[in-house]
């Protein structure tokens, strides 16, 4: 029995179990201290993994890269001959730079390059795979809130008010659960309750984004 549940802990952590399976695991966690400890350990591993920094190579590889670029590539911007595909691609990109095209990019990147300062572009959210670990969840929430803010004008003002009210309700619930958890971090009820409230917030934002974006 314990092995059966232990092997599902990763899927539980990643929130990929069906509601019934999740319920089974949560029931088991109430009685199994070993599995609770395993889950905490797994959560820690995932959190650490998601926080791993990008480290540049110990030596500058650019000279080797440049030397390996195909012959004929060494041109400057103002002396250029384009192939047709290059011209099309350049046209698309220049249009984007000039802001003529209001394209939305699908951004599946999980971690930004802090050193480069490349900001995440506005994106239409596909179904975002979110685990209950903090880093991924917070990023998903921020993305969805930002996208919803951009599409705010498409929704009825009354609907926007209702959404803000609902989000405030959930945020209060999350804050209360977190405060309780701070007093008793290992309480399985509080842990699963907090995870549930977070999922609820994520679901609300996803639904609201879908409604705003389909032109409703």
């Amino acid at each position: 029995m314990a092995d059966h549940f232990s092997s599902r802990l990763s899927e539980y952590l990643d929130d990929t179990l069906s509601p019934g399976e999740r319920l089974d695991v949560e029931r088991h966690l109430l009685d199994c201290a070993a599995c609770r400890a395993d889950l905490d350990g797994l959560r820690r591993v995932v959190d650490e993994a998601q926080g791993l920094p990008d480290v540049p190579p110990s030596r500058d590889l650019w000279p080797d890269v440049r030397a390996a670029l195909p012959v004929g590539a060494r041109r400057r911007f103002n002396t250029i001959t384009l192939s047709i595909p290059q011209a099309i691609a350049a046209g698309v990109l220049l249009a984007l730079v000039s802001g003529l095209v209001g394209a939305m990019f699908l951004d599946r990147q999980r971690r930004e390059s802090a050193a480069a300062g490349v900001a995440r572009e506005s994106a239409v959210p596909a179904v975002v795979h979110v685990s209950v670990s903090d880093a991924n969840y917070n990023r998903a929430i921020d993305d969805l809130k930002r996208l919803l803010a951009e599409e705010r004008s498409r929704l009825n003002p009354k609907t926007v008010e209702a959404l803000e009210r609902n989000l405030a309700t959930i945020d209060r619930a999350i804050a209360e659960a977190m405060a309780a958890l701070a007093q008793d971090p290992s309480d399985p009820f509080l842990n699963s309750h907090l995870a549930h409230q977070r999922r609820t917030k994520l679901t609300l934002l996803r639904q609201a984004n879908q409604l705003a974006r389909t032109g409703l």
């Binding site: 019934g20 029931r27 109430l30 009825n156 609907t159 609902n166 619930a173 409230q197 409604l211």
Partner: protein
């Protein structure tokens, strides 16, 4: 004789051939002029789905025995109603533009007559939806407007930001979500998942053997029998959770509370294990057959004998 047989053969083939049910070319795409009523009937093959998008107004769906879909709107709206049948999808839209800030748009009220087997997908902003007797799968989404479903036979997915959702009778699985509105499900036999943030959830006389209800601030009311093989889960952060069940029910209750109170009225519960340890307590009623999990952070939990139904107000 040969000619007669050939004609009869051709007629038989035509009757059996799915292609014989294809929509004639002149019915494949229909649209109305702005302000004019729309009334078109499309012959549809089994497996067809009706997609009504950008609904702004209301939709009433009823069934008939024909393998056809009739789409009607009243006169007087500004949109140009469009209906296009391609392959197995009848796409219908009111032709109104998207919501521009500060502009009042006229509403379009649809009436649909459909075969019971049809699948439906209806999405809209301010869109009241009423569906009666559809046995196919139904997916509904709106920002505002009540959703009322009666006698449904297939799977139901209904989501609204502000509207109330009312489902009466149903055989298929139900997933209902409303952020601000109330959800009421009665006499349903399929699995139920209901979720609300600020609205209440009422389940009355459901025969479902899998029930999951969750609210953040809204109350949860369950009235009626528990199925012996049923698995139930009721969760709320701040809302009260109340079950009103027959005295002869057989159930095991696992109740987790953080700060709310537990009230028991008219039921003889037997505590299992130490009810004071931690925040989880287990009780059995009768033989303990149905599995009921109740979880509340700050709301009260009330288990009472049936006959003392409470709708709204305090427990």
């Amino acid at each position: 004789m040969f000619t007669f047989s050939a004609v009869m053969f051709a007629a038989v083939v035509a009757l059996q051939d799915p292609a014989a049910g294809q929509v004639p070319q002149d019915q494949a795409r229909q649209s109305s002029r702005p302000g004019q009523p729309f009334d078109q009937t499309f012959t549809v093959a089994r497996g067809t789905r009706v997609d009504l998008s950008d609904c702004l107004g209301s939709v009433v769906v009823k069934t008939w025995t024909r393998d056809a879909v009739q789409v009607r709107t009243a006169a007087g709206h500004r949109g140009e109603v469009k209906a296009t049948l391609t392959d197995k999808v009848l796409a219908v839209s009111p032709g109104v533009t998207r919501w521009p800030a500060g502009v009042e748009l006229q509403l379009v009220d649809f009436e649909l007559l459909v075969p019971a087997w049809i699948d439906l997908r209806i999405e809209g902003r301010e869109c009241g939806i009423e569906i009666n007797g559809v046995a196919g799968n139904v997916t509904l989404k709106n920002s505002e407007g009540d959703i009322v479903l009666r006698g449904m036979g297939g799977a139901v997915d209904a989501y609204s930001i502000e509207g109330d959702i009312e489902i009466d009778g149903g055989k298929g699985r139900v997933r209902a979500g409303s952020s601000d509105g109330d959800i009421t499900i009665a006499n349903a036999a399929g699995d139920i998942e209901a979720e609300s943030i600020d609205g209440d959830v009422h389940l009355n006389d459901v025969q479902a053997t899998s029930v999951m209800v969750s609210t953040v601030d809204g109350d949860v009311f369950f009235n009626g029998p528990l199925q012996a093989t049923g698995k139930y889960r009721f969760t709320s952060h701040d809302g009260n959770i109340g079950l009103s069940i027959p005295e002869t029910s057989s159930a095991t209750f696992t109740i987790r509370r953080y700060e709310g109170d537990l009230h028991v009225t008219g039921l003889t519960l037997k505590a299992v294990g130490d009810v004071r340890r931690g925040r989880r307590a287990t009780y059995t009623l009768g033989a303990g057959a149905a599995q009921v999990e109740i979880e509340s952070f700050d709301g009260d939990v009330t288990l009472s004998k049936a006959g003392a139904r409470v709708r709204g107000g305090s427990w």
